[in-house]
Structure formats: C-alpha cells, structure tokens
C-alpha cells in the first residue's frame, strides 16, 4: 500500500474517492478557481419566511443522497441538527450526507438515523458517542472525512465538498435572511463557521427563534445568500456551550505543565509587546493562559492580539488591556458571548480568515506561540488529537493543525500518563498534526524540544528549564505502568484524517484485536 510523507499507509482510493497522500505541511500548491453557489435572483416583495422546518426542507428541494450542513456554535446545546434530520426522516428523505462543522455528545441520537439509513455519510468531527459508534466499522457508506476548521472552509471554498442545503442556526435573524449569533435570547457568539456554507451551498435556510424587523445587525450571514428563513421555538441552548473542559484546572500536575509551558515561551523571548498568541480551551491550555496573564501583568507586556475560541479568561485579558484585540471563531462561555456583542475589540473571524490553506493570509500564521493539547504524541513529535490509544475515534481536529502549522512556536501540553495510559508512544495511533510543525512538548517531567529547533533548546537550557527527550519521559512513564497492549487494526477504514491542504495525513482503521 502507498505511504505518505510520514510513512503512513494511505490507500489510493476509498469508497470511490481518490485520496491524495500528505507530502508535507506546506507542499501542496493549489490550482483552479474558488467555488460558489448558483446564481439566483428574486424580485421585490418576495417572502422568504417558511412556515415550518419541514416545509422549508420540502421547498429546498432536498432529496435522497444530498448533503446538508450545520455549524456547531451552540456546541453541546445544539437544537437544530436533530430536528432537521428527524424532519428529513419524516419526509422520507434518506441516504443523506451530514456535513457539520463539529458534533457533540448531544448528537448521540443520530446513531438511530445512521442505523435507519437516513444518514449514510458524515464529514466532520466525530466527537464522543458518534465517534465510538462509527469506530465499530460498517456503519457508514463511506468513511468519514475529518478536517480542521481551516480545512473544512477550504474544502467548501474550493468545491471539494458541495453542500446542497445549508441549515444555519441564528440567535437573531430578520425575515430577509440577515442573521447573527450575538443577539437574541439564546445568543451563542460568532456563527462565522457558516459564512462559507452560505456562499457556496445550493440552498440556504436560516433557522432562528428570534425574528426581528429588518435589518438584523450585524448580518454575519447576509440576505443575498439566503433562500429561506424559518422560525422555531428554540434554536439552541447556550447553557450547552460550556462543557467541562473549559475551566482552569486545579490539578497540580496540569498547573505544573502549564507553568512550564509559559516559562518555555518566556525563555524563547516570545512574551513581548505586540505578540499574538492562542491558547486552546483544554484545562492545561487555559491554565497556561492564566499564568501568562499574570506574568504579563507583572512585566507590563501587552499582546497585540489573541485568537479564540474565547473563554472568560481571555475576555478578562482583553478588558484589562493585556490583549489588544481578540479574533474569535467561537465563544466558549457566556462572558465571551457578551464581550463579542459589546466590545468592538472582540472581533468575529471566519475560519477562512483564521486558517484557509488556499488563501493569501491566515491569522494563525501571525501567532508567535500557541498552547495546544493532544491525546498522544510520538517520538517524532507527531500529535494525535483524534483517536485514543485504544483506536477509538473520539475527537475532532478543531483548529489543531491550523494553529500548529501557523504559530512560531507550537507548544503541546500533556501529562505523560492519563490514568495509567502513557501519552508518549513510539508511534501515535493516528497522526493528526505532523511533528514538522510541533516545536515543544511539555509534560510534568520536562520539556522536549523538536531537534530542528536547536535554537529553542539553547534558550530553554540557558533559562534553567528541564530539557528532556521524549524517549526519556516515555521510559519513565512506562516504568510505572508497563507498555500495555496495542490495538491490532484491520483493513476497514473508519475515518480519513485530512491535512488542512486536502491531502490525507492518516486514516483510522477498525480495531480487530490486541497485540
């Protein structure tokens, strides 16, 4: 079987789709022109408001085999995906391809629709229960394709994925289709993930529970791209936006890792006026951000910008003047939603602005440093965020690839052991992000520096920081728990992991046993 640049076996095609093997983080040169939706027009006096979701689906012309898309700004509080799929089932429409920006545990009932054949394909992150279900194999017509946030935007913008009907949940909309996520009783923050869907889908349905007289502002989704508007009782539950991981940790180990991570970027001279940074929403990354804020306050350093997902911790930095501007793809809590609505320095940002490989500017490319997590890392610095060491496909890529490939110094923070499972492996179960774009791995046992960053190793040693090798830390962890068995993978592919340029960095195979 052919292998990609990382030595991963990638079949030439899967379910009739040709797979292009990953060649390197910045090797692909795009060709062709941007895609777009069909040209349409309407006359003055036209009415876009449909009486119900079901009627909107009927009017959209959705048929068997088509693709429907959604955003995930309500995260675990989403109330649109299930009602739409359910309405499709009632209308007798099946064999659909689901193309969300992400799925959450609340979407577990989709399992039934997969079993019933209403959904036969999924392209998008497979979090939690759906991932566990799909990992069993044999459930979908085609293995899911997972993309980063920037990768999904690219796939739509270049026509790799065609959307037949885009359903866009909006906390506020007007009857002409202008829509946003920042106003209304169930505001969720930016809904800019859906902007590309509105531009490129054949048909666009805005769904809201808060219809206001024209014009709804800001029009994140613009009237000119919207076919229909539907009013429902509740489009999403903002309480579901905050999930357990979005809190600063109290764990001494995680705090220690966070502390080391901040010391590392300080030692590298990156904590300075005018910097840009991003911290993920995991417990360690949030803690690192909070420690960073304290150091910045003590030393008078101001960041020019920070990239969200935004939590109250980042909002506090904006309000205290530690951060000049937040560029925000999604809100992770109520404070972020309010800040986005009220503070002009809290700017929404599309995934295209953030990280589209096929573009002339990515916000992530201007990051001086970033703190990211992972489920595993290997001796080549490759990072896995999609599967666990038991081979289960449980997480989406999020912005991991986008941030890692852009940031000047990408810091992966993770403990050497989760429970009794070692996180440093000889080879990661699945490569999500290649070692080529990872600079530091920080664990509670020390900091591993990618050998291609000898400059950083020197900086860290000079600052007295514990520079270790991944092999040493792996050995220390395994001494406490043993190496354990590894899953044996069969031939069936249950997931395709795209690199952000559209090539395939890895595939996830079904677990057949243990060795």
């Amino acid at each position: 079987m052919p292998t990609n640049a990382l030595g991963r076996e990638i079949p030439e095609e899967v379910a009739g789709r040709t797979l292009r093997p990953y060649q390197g983080a910045f090797v692909t040169i795009p060709a062709g022109r941007r895609a777009g939706g069909p040209l349409k027009t309407i006359r003055p006096g036209a009415d876009k408001v449909a009486p119900s979701l079901e009627e909107a689906i009927r009017r959209s012309g959705l048929r068997d085999g088509m693709t429907i898309s959604f955003h995930h700004s309500f995260r675990d509080g989403d109330r649109l995906v299930l009602p739409v799929v359910d309405a499709c089932a009632r209308l007798g429409i099946g064999d659909l391809r689901l193309f969300p920006t992400a799925l959450f545990p609340c979407h577990e009932p989709l399992v039934r629709y997969i079993q019933e054949g209403v959904l036969t394909r999924i392209e998008g992150s497979l979090n939690g229960p759906i991932g566990a279900f799909v990992s069993q194999g044999g459930k979908l017509k085609e293995p899911p394709i997972l993309r980063s946030h920037g990768g999904r935007w690219r796939a739509v913008a270049c026509g790799e994925v065609g959307i037949d009907v885009a359903f866009i949940a909006a906390s506020e909309a007007d009857p002409y289709g202008n829509a946003n996520g920042i106003n209304g009783p169930h505001a969720c923050g930016p809904i800019s993930f859906s902007v590309i869907d509105s531009w490129c889908a054949d048909h666009v349905v805005v769904v809201t529970d808060h219809l206001v007289p024209y014009p709804a502002v800001p029009p994140t989704i613009e009237q000119g791209y919207v076919d229909q508007v539907v009013v429902v009782d509740q489009v999403g539950d903002p309480a579901g936006i905050v999930t357990g991981t979005l809190r600063v940790t109290r764990s001494p180990t995680q705090l220690k890792i966070a502390d080391l991570a901040v010391r590392a970027v300080e030692a590298a001279g990156l904590v300075r006026n005018g910097m840009g940074f991003q911290a993920g929403a995991g417990g360690i990354s949030l803690a690192a951000q909070e420690i960073l804020a304290r150091r910045m306050k003590a030393t008078g350093v101001r960041a020019a910008f920070a990239i969200g997902g935004t939590t109250r911790y980042l909002v506090a930095m904006l309000n205290e003047g530690l951060v000049g501007t937040i560029l925000d793809g999604q809100a992770f809590d109520e404070e972020a939603i309010v800040s986005h609505r009220t503070n002009p320095r809290h700017q929404p940002m599309t995934p295209g602005f953030y990280a589209d490989y096929n573009s002339l500017g990515c916000a992530t490319y201007l990051l001086d440093f970033a703190f990211l997590g992972g489920t595993e890392v290997d001796l080549e610095f490759n990072v896995n965020v999609n599967t666990h060491s038991d081979g289960q496909l449980l997480h989406g890529i999020g912005g991991h690839q986008d941030v890692a490939s852009g940031a000047g110094v990408t810091v992966i923070t993770l403990p050497t052991l989760r429970g009794r499972v070692p996180m440093i492996r000889d080879q990661v179960t699945t490569v999500t992000t290649p070692g080529e774009v990872i600079d530091l791995v920080v664990t509670e046992r020390g900091i591993a520096v990618n050998p291609r960053r000898a400059d950083l190793a020197a900086d860290l040693r000079r600052a007295g920081l514990p520079v270790r090798t991944l092999a040493e830390m792996k050995e220390e962890a395994e001494r406490l728990v043993g190496a354990g068995k590894k899953p044996l993978f069969g031939d069936e592919i249950v997931g395709v992991i795209q690199w952000r340029d559209g090539t395939v960095i890895d595939v996830v195979r079904k677990v057949e046993g243990w060795q």
């Binding site: 038991d390 403990p415 406490l480």
Partner: protein, 392 residues
C-alpha cells in the same frame, strides 16, 4: 497460605484501585480496568505474581482500577491481604528499591512539600514536582481507618518512583500511635529521613533514633535516616534546643504553626509567631542543624507566601513547608541568595581551592577565616544558583 477473611483496600477514585480479597480454595484473579484489553492481562499477571511471592495459594482477588499504576495496585493488594490476615508481619521485608543516593546533613532544603500518603491521585505525579524535600504524610493527612493502607502505599511509592534529586521524607504518626508500625513498613523503602510530629521531648527523638538504627540494620539500609522533629507546641518550642541535640541524626527542626497557634491561643500573624520562630531558629543553629519554617496555608495568595518566605529567610530559616507544588518556585525564589552572597561564596570557595593546592591548612578570604561550616555554607549558596556541585 490462604486468607480466611474477606477484606478490601483502596478506593474507586481516580488513579486508585479497589482490591478485594475473598477466601477461596485456589487462586483466582479478576480485573476490571478502564483501559480494557490494553492492560487487563498485565494487571492480572502482576497480581498473580505478587500473590505467589507472598505464598498465597488460595484466594479470590478482585481488582477494579481507575488509572492506578502498578505499584498502587500492589500496595492496595498488600493492604487488603494484611487486613484479611490481621497482621502486617508478612510485608515487613525489603522490596527492590529504585536507585537512590544518600543526602548530606547540610544539603539544600528550601522547600518541603507535604503530600498526603493515603490518596493515590496526588501521589501519581509526586515524582515530578521537584521540591528540595518531599514529605509523604502518614499523619495529619490520613484518616484513622486508612492509616494502614496509607503506609503500604507510601512503602510502594518510595520503592518504585524515581524522585531524582528530591530528598524523601516520611512523616510518621507519633510513635505510640502507629508510628512504629509506619517505620516497620517504610524504612525498607529507603527514604532519606523521618519527620517526627509533635516533638516535645528529646526522649522521643532518642526513641525514634533507636528504632531507626535497628530497622536500618534489619533492612540493610546503606545510610542512616535523618530525623526532622516537627516543633508544633509551646512545650516543643521551649525544648527545641534539647530536641535538636538529642541525636546526631537530627538534620533540621521544622516549625508547625497551626497546632502551636491553637495551643497557645494566639491569632496567627507574623508578630504573634515571631518569638517562637526566633527561638526555633536559634535552637537549631546553636545545635548545628537547619531550621525550616511552617507552611503558608493559603494556596491562592502568592504574594502572602512570598512575603512570609522572605521574612523567614531573613530570620535565619533554611527553608519553608509548602502544601502545593506551585508554591515551590515561590519559596525557592525567596530563599535564593542575593548577588552579594553569591559573589562572596564564589570568592570563598576559590580561596579554599587555592589554599588546598598550596597545601595551606588555614584559609582566609576578605580578612575572615573560612572554616569548614563557612565553606559548606558558601558551597550551598553556589549550589542554589546552579554552580559547583549539586544540591547535596
């Protein structure tokens, strides 16, 4: 041998294991692990091997683990077996212990981190915190019904985990309240020293020193364990000098302000504790041992900790207790030598080296004689800023 009573030990908390032992005619082991097939067989064979090692040929053992390391599972197994047998005698034998080197009496002891000895969760990463001294606590941090189980856990943690340059201490219970049982299990795992709580009388120190001497011999421990009496009562403060001088093994006096304040009826502040601290430092220094200040209980208040640590240092303390790993860096910062001290230490060491080369016995630097304690102090200062030999 076959256990006759059902017994269990451990918890279903994260990083822990619950091990249940039931009487049975043959040996059966069942394992429930969060990791599934990844570690199921590994854990079963670990447990079987340990049971065979202890000569148990009939028992049903159930292990439910929630991310427990191998040594935690073994410690819980041993505690359950001991409970079932009604005796710890079987386990009073040496375990294979990870490579560990002795420490010097005057080593750097800026921080002493307390970690509860009973809970597996905080111990899971205890080898990564990097204090100068780690205190595995069997006393105040462990509830009475778990005292036995905790000493099994500490015994295994000490034997298994590599703590690098950290000096390892066990705070035992008072000798007449379980402390002797603690020692009988943990000394074989080669900690560097024992913390004696509620020290009030030199006789307590002598009793501990005698016990240690016989256990060290029984376990072939290749170094004498240090003693750190914890002075935490008005009687203790008054007897501090005698306590410090009671045995050669005493390396450091530690102050425990919580109990002291309560017993005296004082309100805790720098001023109200100043006399006790001064008395403790003077007693220690007059006896040639180190002094370590009490813990700062408010983990959130970094400024308060920094301030108190600096004051303690100015008063003559060599270190301070900490209750959270993030307090370590702050305390080390407060106890860092000043630039003048570092310059002096460098000069003093250079002068001593030069004198040794020239075969001169008497060393003078800046007009002052550099005798051995002064030279050791200079070396310790340099070690603190990463110069010269290591922390020992």
């Amino acid at each position: 041998m076959r256990p006759t009573q059902e017994a269990s030990a451990g918890t279903e908390d994260r990083s822990d294991a619950l091990v249940r032992v039931r009487p049975a005619g043959r040996l059966t082991v069942s394992v429930r692990t969060r990791t599934g097939p990844m570690y199921e067989e590994h854990i079963a064979s670990l447990v079987r091997q340990a049971l065979r090692g202890y000569g148990v040929d009939g028992a049903h053992v159930e292990v439910g683990e929630e991310g427990a390391y191998d040594h935690v599972i073994l410690a819980r197994l041993e505690a359950a077996l001991a409970r079932s047998l009604g005796s710890e005698e079987l386990f009073r034998s040496a375990l294979p212990v990870v490579d560990r080197t002795p420490t010097s009496r005057s080593r750097l002891r800026r921080s002493r981190l307390y970690v509860p000895g009973g809970g597996a969760r905080l111990l899971a990463f205890a080898d990564s915190f990097g204090p100068d001294c780690l205190l595995l606590d069997l006393e105040d941090a462990v509830a009475l019904p778990e005292k036995d189980s905790a000493r099994f856990l500490v015994r295994r943690v000490l034997a298994t985990m590599d703590f690098g340059r950290t000096e390892l201490w066990v705070r035992i219970n008072p000798l007449d309240a379980g402390g002797a049982d603690d020692l009988a299990l943990v000394v074989g795992s080669r900690p560097h020293g024992i913390c004696l709580p509620k020290a009030e009388d030199p006789a307590q120190v002598l009793a501990l020193a005698d016990l240690l001497a016989s256990l060290e011999e029984a376990y072939s421990v290749p170094w004498p364990l240090w003693i750190m009496p914890i002075i935490e009562s008005p009687r203790g403060v008054l007897a501090a000098a005698d306590i410090a001088r009671a045995a050669e093994r005493v390396a450091c006096l530690a102050f425990g302000a919580e109990d002291y304040t309560r017993e005296v009826g004082a309100r805790r502040s720098w001023e109200t504790l100043l006399w006790a601290r001064s008395q403790l430092v003077a007693s220690a220094k007059a006896s040639g041992v180190q002094a370590s200040d009490t813990v700062y209980p408010n983990v959130e208040d970094e400024e308060g900790l920094r301030d108190e640590a600096q004051r303690a240092r100015d008063l003559g303390f060599d270190g301070k207790g900490v209750i959270h790993p993030l307090q370590i860096g702050i305390v080390h910062g407060a106890f860092a030598p000043s630039a003048e001290e570092v310059a002096w230490a460098r000069g003093a060491v250079e002068a001593a080296v030069a004198a040794a080369k020239e075969g001169r016995g008497v060393v003078a630097y800046q007009g002052r004689m550099i005798d051995r304690p002064v030279l050791e102090r200079a070396k310790r200062i340099l070690a603190q800023v990463g110069e010269g030999s290591d922390a020992d």
